[in-house]
């Protein structure tokens, strides 16, 4: 067949973009690139064609550690009943002023 069968595919990089100053970088997709510089340029050429960004992060996909979906209950549900962490839990009389 063609050369492609023996060729090792370029690694995958996850792309995160800050859309404007003051906002967090947000995941928006991925690119294949041989190295970080090419990944950065590709991310720029692919994901910021309509002025979507002012800053880009690229991260090798295999460098990301993710939580497992089946751990969802044990990881996240314990937070659900800690309602005293939210400001609305507390009744403060109006007279006390803005708090």
């Amino acid at each position: 067949m063609t050369k492609q069968t023996t060729e090792k595919e370029w690694p995958l990089w996850e792309v995160f973009i800050r859309s404007k100053a003051g906002l967090d970088h947000k995941h928006c997709g991925s690119v294949h690139a041989s190295d970080a510089e090419i990944a950065l340029e590709s991310a720029r050429d692919v994901y910021t064609r309509r002025s979507e960004g002012i800053s880009i992060w690229v991260v090798p996909s295999n460098a990301i550690t993710a939580s497992k979906p089946e751990d969802k209950e044990s990881l996240f549900e314990p937070a659900d009943d800690k309602i005293y962490r939210h400001p609305t839990f507390y009744d403060i009389p109006k007279g006390a002023g803005k708090m």
Partner: protein, 256 residues
């Protein structure tokens, strides 16, 4: 031939810088669906859009400066081959990825120096175009330099190919630093850029990247020229114009 004055020299000058953008942009657009990866295709098309965009602004300004009501498309579609004064480097065929990268690299290194100076032109419009274009070509230089380094310092095959591209295209780089009569005339008023003065910096920039790419600078400096000064093109050029102008020529005076 009409005698050169400051008006038609300015028209010629703006159009000629525009010609470089249009022709190299046109060449890059020929890569559509032919690049080594989609990511790289996107990159080339971004470059093409920048370069054709520059041409549009420059043609529009040339039309205004001429005072004859010419529009951007009059320059692109209704001039004959010999009226185009782009650099030969802009029009030679794309070749392989190496040839395309080397051409873009030589051209972008030149453009970066050139637009830096044009941004200081006493002509406010040219200065503004220069400043805007500078940002675009700075990215083109970065993109092409990074690729040249990877080709030069990649595999044996890529090194051999990249060196051949450099050797093949080298003869077209001499023309970058030649002055036309129009440029000399406009230089008196600080409108045009003295491109002869860019050569030393260009050599420095090029040898620095070639060095990083483990490639060597050719030693034969015999230069091809004739397009920028007299509209004497390569044989390839006629086909570009034939393609580009076909509809405008076949159906004259239509809106599209």
């Amino acid at each position: 031939m009409t005698e050169l004055n400051k008006v038609n020299a300015l028209v010629q000058y703006a159009a000629q810088i525009g010609d470089n953008g249009l022709i190299i942009g046109h060449r890059m657009s020929e890569w559509c669906f032919r690049a080594p990866s989609i990511e790289m295709e996107m990159a080339l098309m971004n470059c093409a859009l920048d370069l054709i965009g520059q041409a549009r602004e420059l043609y529009t300004y040339a039309g205004e400066a001429g005072g004859e009501g010419k529009k951007e498309d009059d320059f692109a579609y209704l001039r004959d081959e010999q009226d185009f004064r782009n650099l030969l480097l802009a029009e030679v065929p794309n070749g392989d990825w190496g040839d395309t990268i080397v051409r873009l690299f030589f051209m972008s290194a030149y453009n970066k120096l050139f637009f830096t100076e044009l941004a200081k032109s006493t002509d406010a419009e040219l200065a503004a175009i220069g400043a805007k274009s500078l940002k675009e070509v700075t990215y083109h230089l970065r993109f092409s330099s990074e690729w040249l380094i990877r080709l030069g310092d990649g595999t044996e095959e890529s090194h051999r190919r990249a060196q051949k591209s450099i050797d093949d295209l080298w003869a077209y780089t001499g023309e970058l630093f030649t002055m036309t009569d129009a440029e000399n005339l406009l230089l008196e008023d600080g409108i045009s850029v003295d491109v002869t003065a860019l050569k030393a910096d260009w050599d420095e920039l090029v040898s620095q990247i070639l060095d990083q790419a483990t490639l060597s600078v050719p030693t034969n400096n015999w230069a091809q020229s004739g397009s920028k000064s007299d509209g004497r093109h390569t044989e390839y050029f006629g086909y570009i114009i034939t393609d580009m102008q076909y509809l405008q020529r076949r159906y004259p005076g239509c809106e599209w």
